[in-house]
């Protein structure tokens, strides 16, 4: 009986491994295109965050931007939040983070992401997905009603998941790359 169970487990593992091997490695040109696609999604998120934080953005537009930003993330992803005033880093579900960002108690908020680049290239995993890490620097500027200015720059690491999928469009099968963002972790926070 135990022998039979071992055989089943081994068979399943083999099948899993074979399915991963069955997917051919990407050509360098194709890899560049997929890397670039993933990087673009992070840049898109950067723009959404900037919009959501900006007090000039109409409420309905900010809410819509939250929904669009959420579509970039894997379910259950979290966002790390740091502050110069405390050592600990708080993690919020992404939607909650974005809603808090929209409601920040500042008269004016400006958020810019810069130096967006891979720190860990997309690597194929045994399950066929590609995983990489992109780092960004976020400069946050908040000005209170009283004119007090808070500025910090945070380095954040974003885990990227890329998966090959298929779908039907007007009766045709289309193969596409599904890029999803995972947790965003704070790796460093400094003044200014």
């Amino acid at each position: 009986m135990i022998k039979k169970q071992i055989c089943i487990v081994v068979f399943c593992l083999l099948a899993f491994a074979l399915s991963a091997i069955a997917q051919p490695e990407l050509s360098p040109e194709r890899k560049i295109a997929v890397d670039s696609l993933a990087l673009e999604k992070v840049k898109d998120l950067s723009k959404y965050i900037s919009m959501i934080g900006d007090k000039k953005t109409p409420f309905s537009e900010a809410n819509r931007a939250i929904d669009r930003a959420m579509e970039l993330f894997m379910e259950g992803s979290q966002m790390g939040v740091s502050a110069l005033s405390r050592k600990e880093i708080k993690y919020y579900p992404v939607r909650k983070y974005l809603q808090r960002l929209m409601a920040l108690n500042y008269q004016k908020v400006k958020i810019d992401w810069f130096n967006i680049q891979y720190i860990s290239d997309l690597q194929r995993q045994p399950d066929g997905k590609y995983v990489g890490v992109i780092t960004i620097y976020q400069k946050f500027e908040g000005i209170t009603k009283e004119g007090m200015k808070y500025v910090d720059t945070t380095k954040k690491d974003i885990t990227i998941y890329v998966e090959r999928k298929k779908t039907q469009i007007n009766g045709r099968e289309i193969g596409y790359w599904d890029v999803m963002l995972g947790d965003i972790r704070v790796s460093e926070t400094k003044k200014g």
Binding site: V34, R68, Y176, W177
Partner: protein
């Protein structure tokens, strides 16, 4: 006695003959005169009717030149050699040719006015925008409200806001690689939010109503 009677009968017969001949001659002359009188009367009636018709024709303001020409042709066909009628016919001809010229001038003016109006309208109305124009205007819109107006207009080109949009990121080994498919509404909102369009139009598929049922874009290199 017999001879006297015969003479008397002869005389009587002669007198009768003379009387008959005289009567017959007088009756023929009267008939001719009557016929002549009748003809003159008829002509006078015709002339009078022609004058009445011509007066009506000259006073008319409703009939078209073609209708007036038809009426005039009927009067001319009577060949009434009456100086008044001839003068009136000349006036009627002048009236018809003036009316024709007036109509032609009015038509020319109306056409010119229509052309000018069309030009004015074309200047006032924005030109029919292409999809690429909409992309550019949505991105360049100074505020969300204006961008949303362009989005609403652009969506009219599509079968529905859910029309699929494919974005090819490249062609590798003859196979196209795509980003995750989206919808036209989301794509237009995306370019509004991101203020960028990294793609060019690669292919457009239309439905039976001339609306776009699928849009394929290609990532710019």
């Amino acid at each position: 006695m017999k001879i006297t009677l015969s003479k008397n009968v002869f005389t009587l017969l002669l007198l009768c003959l003379i009387a008959f001949a005289s009567f017959t001659t007088t009756s023929c002359g009267n008939k001719k005169k009557l016929a002549e009188q009748q003809a003159a009367q008829e002509r006078a009636a015709k002339v009078s009717q022609a004058k009445t018709d011509l007066q009506a024709l000259l006073a008319d303001t409703n009939k078209s030149p073609e209708e007036l020409e038809r009426d005039l042709a009927r009067i001319k066909a009577m060949n009434l050699n009456d100086p008044d009628v001839i003068a009136m016919i000349k006036k009627a001809e002048e009236k018809i040719s003036k009316k024709k010229a007036d109509i032609a001038e009015a038509k020319r003016k109306a056409e010119e006015e229509a052309r000018l109006n069309a030009e004015k309208e074309a200047k006032l109305k924005p030109a029919k925008l292409t999809l690429n124009d909409y992309f550019a205007r949505i991105i360049a819109a100074p505020n969300a409200a204006e961008a949303n107006n362009y989005i609403a207009d652009a969506l009219k080109l599509f079968a529905s806001p859910e029309t699929p949009v494919l974005i090819a990121i490249g062609v590798f080994g003859g196979e196209k690689d795509y980003d995750k498919p989206t919808t036209i509404k989301k794509y237009l909102e995306y370019i509004k939010d991101q203020k960028k369009n990294l793609n060019t139009i690669d292919n457009i598929m239309y439905d039976g109503n001339g609306k776009i049922k699928e849009l394929e874009l290609m990532r710019k290199k």
